[in-house]
Symmetry: C2
Subunit: 509 residues, 2 copies
Amino acid sequence: MTEATIPALKIHGADNVSVVLTEGGLQPGARLDDGTELREAVPFGHKVALEDIPRDGVITRYGVTIGIASEDLPRGTWVNEHRMRLPEPPALDDLPPPAPQPAPPAPLEGYTFEGYRNADGSVGTRNILAISTSVQCVAGVVDHVVSRVQAELLPRYPNVDGVVALNHAYGCGVAINAPDAIIPIRTVQNLAKNPNFGGEVMVIGLGCEKLRPEWLLPEGDPSASVLTLQDPAHIGFAAMVDAILKQAEEHLERLNRRTRETCPASDLVVGVQCGGSDAFSGVTANPVIGCAADLIVRAGGSVMFSEVTEVRDAVHLLAPRCADKETSEALAREMAWYDAYLARGGADRSANTTPGNKAGGLSGIVEKSLGSVAKSGSSPLADVTGPGERISRKGLTFAATPAGDFVCGTLQLAAGMNVHIFSTGRGTPYNLPAAPTLKVVTNSALARRWFDLVDLDTGRVATGEATIETLGMELFQLILDTASGKRITAADRLGIVNDLVLFNPAPVT
Amino acid sequence: MTEATIPALKIHGADNVSVVLTEGGLQPGARLDDGTELREAVPFGHKVALEDIPRDGVITRYGVTIGIASEDLPRGTWVNEHRMRLPEPPALDDLPPPAPQPAPPAPLEGYTFEGYRNADGSVGTRNILAISTSVQCVAGVVDHVVSRVQAELLPRYPNVDGVVALNHAYGCGVAINAPDAIIPIRTVQNLAKNPNFGGEVMVIGLGCEKLRPEWLLPEGDPSASVLTLQDPAHIGFAAMVDAILKQAEEHLERLNRRTRETCPASDLVVGVQCGGSDAFSGVTANPVIGCAADLIVRAGGSVMFSEVTEVRDAVHLLAPRCADKETSEALAREMAWYDAYLARGGADRSANTTPGNKAGGLSGIVEKSLGSVAKSGSSPLADVTGPGERISRKGLTFAATPAGDFVCGTLQLAAGMNVHIFSTGRGTPYNLPAAPTLKVVTNSALARRWFDLVDLDTGRVATGEATIETLGMELFQLILDTASGKRITAADRLGIVNDLVLFNPAPVT
Ligand SMILES: [Ca+2]
Ligand SMILES: [Ca+2]
Ligand SMILES: [Ca+2]
Ligand SMILES: [Ca+2]
Ligand SMILES: [Ca+2]
């Protein structure tokens, strides 16, 4: 069995584990390029001890402690979550101060895309009619209306890219005065203002709900409309539907008069997240996304990353990157809020990891976090926003959200995202209809299997066929082409549509 | 202004308020039939003081204290939520013991419906293919499959009534080991076993999610199937969809061989709830539903009512109706659990009421509760079940759920409901595709306006055109006809479809 030595992935000089890169895994006796001989079989993507790690010794990957050995782990042992425990999370009251920022890299100039300029200065990458809803009760009627708009109206408004129902499970049957209710409320309000909806706010309400339909109308916007199903003017279902269709046409008329114009890359607002991660997420897809994120920031654009439970264990690495003390404090505040939210429900950040993460070689939330934050690249952290808030600064923002894919994506839409980047290792047919969603996969096996579901294969980094930098530039270009509408994402081509999911940390009633 | 006296609604001899029955409300100077002269305008459905109520005096309706006057309320004053405060909720550690049950009314025999008998003894009122999902990630693909099944497969299986995706927002990105996670998990498990799905359990999972797809398979059921999108066998989207369609056909073949047979009314499992209530809910629709509930119980069937926050203030009235001490303790336990759940989020049971409730004349949760529990009729309370549990006894069960319409309906489906009764005063186009949903409205104005959206108008009780008893029997007959598939509900005729909403009191990650 011990023939030629086999390359394995060691990321940082201080690491005492490396990751098996051989598809199908390695058998006992296989010898890694550093001379380590495997004592047992180790699956693809999983970790091998490169030195004898004693019980209670630290397990180091990315140069950071990802776990404490719960048994002796001699060199060549399979290191997995059953053989280690998590270290304590970094303390939040003792974060390192913002470090002196290195001289920023040269601005990246001359990159543009074709977008829809909005009255508020934001830019849409799509020209979509969004129908906002104040309460779940109207969802069935709105779904019916959306089908009618698609079949009967859209053919007459060829410049409109589509119609989207902003249905959700909030609005009534909820504790609307609870302290945390502000989160779902501002999310619903801000969703309607996403740049891809062209400033046309069309609200359908019921009439008796707790979330008042008029709360969703932006102040001083004469084009915004609101209609409630309980309005005595509607006699029967057909009348209700006709009234909504009439309302929709007014918005469609205006949207249809819009055309794309050349916009600088600084008008991009890119939201990045990951879902269904594996051990390669942190070494292929996420660093490639981080590289593209740096390019967008250099071009003057906005990038947001999120997923609090995947940042919690890396917060001490992010704190020095904060642009100022205020941002660093906001970062600690969002982490502390989430710690308390989880504790209230009898959980902690370790609840983040999934069976798929573990099967894919991720031995706990610390290792997952270090791979997850790679998506943020290396730019200074310009701002931190709370869940459901709109981002307001150029550069890199940490938009604090849960890590669950649909909750995170919904909150990033509310934050103003006009292009979405999603990395996956295990594979998920995730798609948001409101913003083009590019799927970046971590390994070539998945890229081959889901050939029509993915947009970019970064598995080539692990095999040495490509570098993070070349793929980062490729992704940046893909983002511009997608923003321009020249490229349709894989999931949009297939017509996969996922629903929004609000984050409501307050009770339901 | 003071012409003839005007009838108003006083429910109990001890009440010191009555409700204005005149559409459009009453003007100052109007004289009620008890001689009370209005001191100010009082809207339709709102309350008038029938005697001088001093500041800190009790306001009594249904013979129960619904509030404490926060100012002097002289006879003829409009009594509303701004002029009163809530009393303390009944203590839970001091509930009255189960009272000796009155001799049960004569059994109701000879009532039947045409249903689909299942292998487990339950009976479906519809013959539906349900596609269960273990995680939100698959929802977009499953929605696509459902359209394909409807267009391509159902025409070949004429005995199958429809296909329903059991999509939800749970399964990953959640704290699956948190104490309260049991609620959404068992809900998803039990949804698949609803009698209207004919015992055919078809699960679509992703593969890496926390909620394992195989957890949704009933033990020892050889016909149950599970398929994951990440299965390496699926090369591309079309292969994935084809595999699901093939799976669906196996279930459709078996469902298509089923036929309706005559079943006793004791096979009914009726879930009742209300939404968009007004001051008439408690005097028209809900008592009519309570009367029908009593008939079902007399016929040996099962009825469940729910909505914890609408029962909390009436718990001292329900406790004596409990069949035994165990049931009474379970009732108190569910109330205490919900009190703690609300308190954890900074809320209490008063968060239940809506702007529509208040506009409709309901001055707080106590008054709303007293009207809400009228749906339970007068039968002994045979059992209390937790959210997401299946009911297991005949007779009346309190299935503890939140009051939010979609959450409650979803949990009642999981509890095994085969017919749903929904009362509304303000109006909501609520419909569950998995069980026929009869909409009972509290007032004739709404019945006229939403003529094609409602199934039964109980406003005739308030105007004296009908009695609670005659409408109760009418509703009972409507339930049997609907269960038999002879009558299609208003919302099913219109094709309104609402999504399920799970109750997840545990944190998301
Ligand atoms: Ca993630
Ligand atoms: Ca995620
Ligand atoms: Ca209710
Ligand atoms: Ca309800
Ligand atoms: Ca949907």
